[in-house]
Structure formats: C-alpha cells, structure tokens
C-alpha cells in the first residue's frame, strides 16, 4: 500500500487525484476478440431486382473478408481512473472503445460495465442541419435530462464550448462549424452530465490549446465525480496531463499496461527506434 502511494505521487503528472484506496471495478474486459466482417464490393446499391433476389435468397455477397482487429485483450478499469489508450494507427484503440460501449459484439470473450458507457468519437455527429442551440437542448434531452435541467446547464455548456466567443455561432446550423468547433460543442454536451464511464476517442484533438486545457480540467473533475474516463489520443502530452494509467495497444494486443509515465516512455522509445 505504502509502496503504491509513493509511486503514484512520484509518477503522476500535476497530481491528478490518486486512485481511490478502495478499488471498485467499472469496466472489466475479459479476453475480448473483435472481428469485423467486411462484405466485398457489390454489397451496397443495385437495381431493385437484384436487391430483391438477394433478400429472397438470403445470400450475402460472396466476397466476405474478416478483419481480426482485437485479438484477446483483458484489463480492469476502476472508479476514479483516467485510462489513456495509445498505439499506432490501426492498432485497435477505437475498436476497443466501441466494444466497451456495446456497439461491437465481441467474437469471443466478454465486456462487463457498470451503467451505460458514453462514447465520444471524433466523427460522432449530432444533428448537422440543426443549430448549435438545438443540438445542445436535444443532446441533453437525449441523455435523459429534463427541461429544467437543460435550462440550468445550457449557459454552462455554451460557455464551456466557447462557440460564442467569436460571434453568435450557437444559432447557426452545426454544419457551418469548423471541425474543431463541432468537436468542442459535442464534448461540452457530453461532459455536461456525469457519466459512470466516459470514453473520448480523439475528440479533443482538433480543439485549440485553450480548449484542450479546459477539457483536461473537466476530465479531472469527471474523475473526481467517481467516474472512469478513457482517452484515446496521439498526443503524448495530453495523455500525460490527464491519465494516471495508460494501456498501449499494438496489432490488437496489449503491449503494456501501467502508470502513464512508464508506458508512454516505453512507447516513445519504441516509436523513435522505428
């Protein structure tokens, strides 16, 4: 026990709250395999008659390719932890988060979670034709808030997103936003509610410095509210700033799992050697 506390205080950047002494698991990933099934070209559109014959014969297109994206990973995340996920492109980070969110069924193994994990992806769109304002209201309502709660949180969300800093953008349709602005608003909406498990997949990478600082702050708060945060990022400094634990994925396998400083160091050495 003593050992652990000492290590945490040495290793953790800027003192994010230490892991709670009582470890309560929120996400358990048990030997999870994820296989994508890709139907070859010709599966999409087609004439009505070919569509009909395909439905009637219940036959899938012949060219079926399987992509074994995650090949048996296991870990347990606890309350109050911020877990970083790193690894090169295509190593399975996004896939892992989608599976934890219940959006991809494991081909083998299992994922256990507490409550409903919320996944904030880089291309998660809300309703692009609607104004930012309506997106805030609808997003909050969809997360299960009441009108009273939305009214209470509305100004905070807009302020936090900083969308209105450069003029009245909140009353424009979301499709007119830059990618960074869209990401900021989405994060502001998702983070307005405390989640048991919040997973952020590169959603902050398009934000500017000021917003990144603010969201790192918010992630720390969410952790204090006894949630678990997963963060995928290709920015090692963001990972260092926000995460107390990091998992390094490579080729769908866990290469390292431990305190951020060590794992990121290992990862940097590996990247530099290549």
């Amino acid at each position: 026990m003593d050992d652990q506390e000492m290590m945490d205080s040495v290793l953790e950047p800027e003192g994010p709250p230490p892991p709670p002494t009582e470890k309560i698991p929120t996400v358990i990933v048990d030997n999870m395999h994820i296989v994508y099934k890709v139907y070859g070209a010709g599966a999409g559109k087609g004439s009505a008659t070919s569509a009909l014959s395909r439905i009637v014969r219940r036959k899938s297109s012949p060219a079926l390719t399987e992509v074994h994206a995650v090949k048996g990973i296991s870990f347990t995340a606890y309350k109050g932890e911020a877990v970083g996920l790193i690894g090169s492109n295509g190593s399975g980070k996004s896939t892992t988060l989608a599976a934890i969110a219940g959006l991809l069924p494991p081909a083998q193994g299992a994922v256990y979670t507490d409550g409903q994990p919320a996944l904030l992806g880089v291309n998660a769109a809300l309703m692009n034709d609607l104004t930012g304002e309506r997106n805030v209201v609808l997003g909050c309502l969809a997360m299960g808030m009441t009108y009273a709660e939305v009214r209470e949180k509305y100004q905070d969300i807009v302020d936090f997103s900083g969308i209105n800093d450069k003029g009245d953008f909140i009353s424009l349709p979301m499709r007119t936003y830059s990618s960074g602005m869209g990401a900021r608003l989405r994060f502001a909406i998702s983070a307005a509610r405390s989640h048991d498990v919040l997973m952020i997949d590169e959603a902050l990478s398009t934000g500017d410095m000021a917003f990144r600082k603010r969201s790192e702050e918010r992630i720390r708060e969410l952790r204090k509210e006894a949630g678990t945060v997963f963060l995928v990022s290709h920015s090692n400094s963001t990972i260092r700033e926000t995460c107390n634990r990091t998992i390094w994925l490579e080729h769908g396998l866990i290469r390292a799992d431990g305190p951020t400083e060590d794992v990121v160091k290992e990862y940097e050495d590996w990247t530099n050697k290549k």
Partner: protein, 304 residues
C-alpha cells in the same frame, strides 16, 4: 517495466484476488455491455425521453424546408400540389371520379391520410441508418427515433388537415359534429404508424436493400387502399373472402374513417364492416407488435 506494475495491481486487488473476471463482475454488479433492458425497463426509458421525442420532432419540422426560399410555406404547398397532381390525372384525364360525389375532398383526404402512413414506412426504414452518428454518440432508447419521426409526420398531417378543412368547406360541405371523430381516427392511425415505423426501422437497419424496394411496395399498397376510387365498387364484384381481405387493409380503414368524419356526403353505410373495431385492432397490433419487434434488436442498432 510492466511486470512491476502487474505486481502492484495484484497487490491492490487483494480482496478480489482469486476471482475470475465474470465473478468479479458479478460481485460489483457489472453487466455485459450493451445488453438489452427488459421490456418494462425499456418502456420506462422511452417514457423518460418523451421530451426528447417531442423536441426532436419539432426541430425536424422547423428545418425541413429551411433551405428553400419559401420556407414554411411549403408545409401547406406540398400537400396542395400533391392533391392537384392527382386531381389532374384521376379526375380530368382518367375520369375515375364517376359516381363519387365531392371528388376533390374525397381524393385529398385519401392522399393526405395515405401519405401519413407512407411517410411512416419510408422514414422509419431510414431512421436508424440515417442517424448512426447520433446513435453512436449518445445513449438513449433507440425507439425514440422512429417514434419522434412519427410525431413529426403527425405535426405535418395536422397542417395538411387544416388545408383539407378549407377544401371541404370550399366544396360546399357543412361542418358537422362528425368532425370531432377526426381526433380518435388520428390517434389510432398514429399508434399504428408508430408501430409500423419501428417495424420498418429494424428491417431497414439490417437490410439496406429494403430502402430501394420500399417505393414499389408503397405504390402497390396505395392502389389497394382506395385513395383514388371507392373500393366498395370493386369489392362488390369479388368473392366474399377477397372483399373482406381488401377491406381489412389498415390504410383503407383509416382513409374511409377520415372521409366519413369530414364529409357529410359519405354515409356510414359505405364503411367497411366493423370499421372501428378494425381501426382499434390495427392500432393495438401494429403499435405494440412493432414496439416489441424493435425492442428485440435494441442492442444491435449502431453496430457495424
């Protein structure tokens, strides 16, 4: 390096050391991710999102014509133009109207009411695939989407019914107490449509080919639903069972009921047998059946 930390993790997880992941999950009440809730729990969640459903429907209504210059005027123009086209073809060119009194309101009622159900099918089929971003970004019971679309179409139908009311009055038909019957007819049809939209939403989420086939199915259905002509003039010549089958068509039932409530010139005797019972039965079977059917695949929407 990492072995040190595995060691550390093992030390801390002491009380739970010997447990398998499944046992650990059970001990802390964790459940398999993305598992579908029970029907009662699901219904509670949908009810909790009633504000979302209402707000989403209204938001859709607002943006529908926002990119066109005339804007909301299209809300009224679209049904009017539709009716005008069918009038041109079926009355002026084909003379289908023979023997039907007050053909214009008769036709318009058919067109507007059928369009309500048609929209439920078409938008229901795409309600999941067109909203994957939203589905993947936020957690909510997915049935909220097809239901919100149905509410949105009901709002549009109410605008059309306003237009229709004017058409009926202009044709010289009186306002009667029967107009009040519109309310139960609309409620029953909306329930049926919501169920149908949910049914189609599940089909459309799985089978992308469905979206291409739907226009053909819809057109066939429309011709069988007595939108342009009086079906009882055809059923009289058919054997009894065939006539009964044609008259059991829910779209036909809701159209005939709406005509009966709006138009003084449509007598109760022209309605199919047991028409109110049929209308209610379709609402219950369609609404509940579609809901359960949709719920059965709840965990699979958004996967891919």
């Amino acid at each position: 390096m990492s072995t040190v930390f595995e060691q550390r993790a093992a030390d801390v997880a002491d009380p739970d050391a010997g447990l398998s992941p499944a046992e650990l999950a059970a001990k802390y009440g964790l459940t398999i991710s993305g598992r579908r809730p029970s029907l009662a729990e699901y219904t509670r969640q949908v009810w909790q999102r009633r504000f979302f459903i209402g707000a989403y429907a209204t938001a859709k209504l607002m943006v529908q014509y926002s990119s066109s210059k005339l804007g909301q005027v299209w809300q009224v123009l679209t049904p009017l133009l539709n009716a005008a086209v069918y009038y041109l073809i079926f009355d002026l060119l084909l003379h289908v109207s023979k023997g039907i009194p007050d053909y214009i309101p008769y036709l318009c009622t058919g067109v507007f009411v059928f369009q309500f159900t048609q929209a439920a099918v078409l938008s229901g089929t795409r309600s999941i695939s067109d909203n994957l971003g939203l589905i993947r970004a936020l957690h909510f019971p997915r049935a909220s989407l097809p239901i919100a679309f149905t509410v949105n179409q009901l709002q549009q139908l109410i605008v059309s019914m306003g237009v229709l009311g004017v058409i009926v009055l202009v044709s010289g038909l009186p306002v009667t107490m029967n107009w009040l019957l519109m309310i139960p007819v609309l409620l029953l049809q909306s329930t049926f449509n919501a169920g149908l939209a949910m049914f189609m939403a599940r089909i459309g989420a799985k089978t992308s080919d469905m979206a291409q086939l739907m226009p053909f199915i819809i057109r066939t259905w429309m011709y069988l639903s007595g939108v342009f002509w009086a079906v009882n003039s055809v059923t009289a010549k058919l054997p009894h069972w065939a006539g009964t089958l044609i008259e059991a068509n829910p779209a036909l039932i809701y159209i005939e009921l709406m005509r009966y409530s709006l138009m003084d010139s449509v007598p109760a005797s022209s309605l199919p047998h047991h028409v109110w019972i049929m209308a209610a039965a379709w609402a219950v079977i369609g609404g509940f059946g579609g809901y359960v059917f949709f719920w059965k695949a709840e965990e699979e929407y958004g996967r891919g």
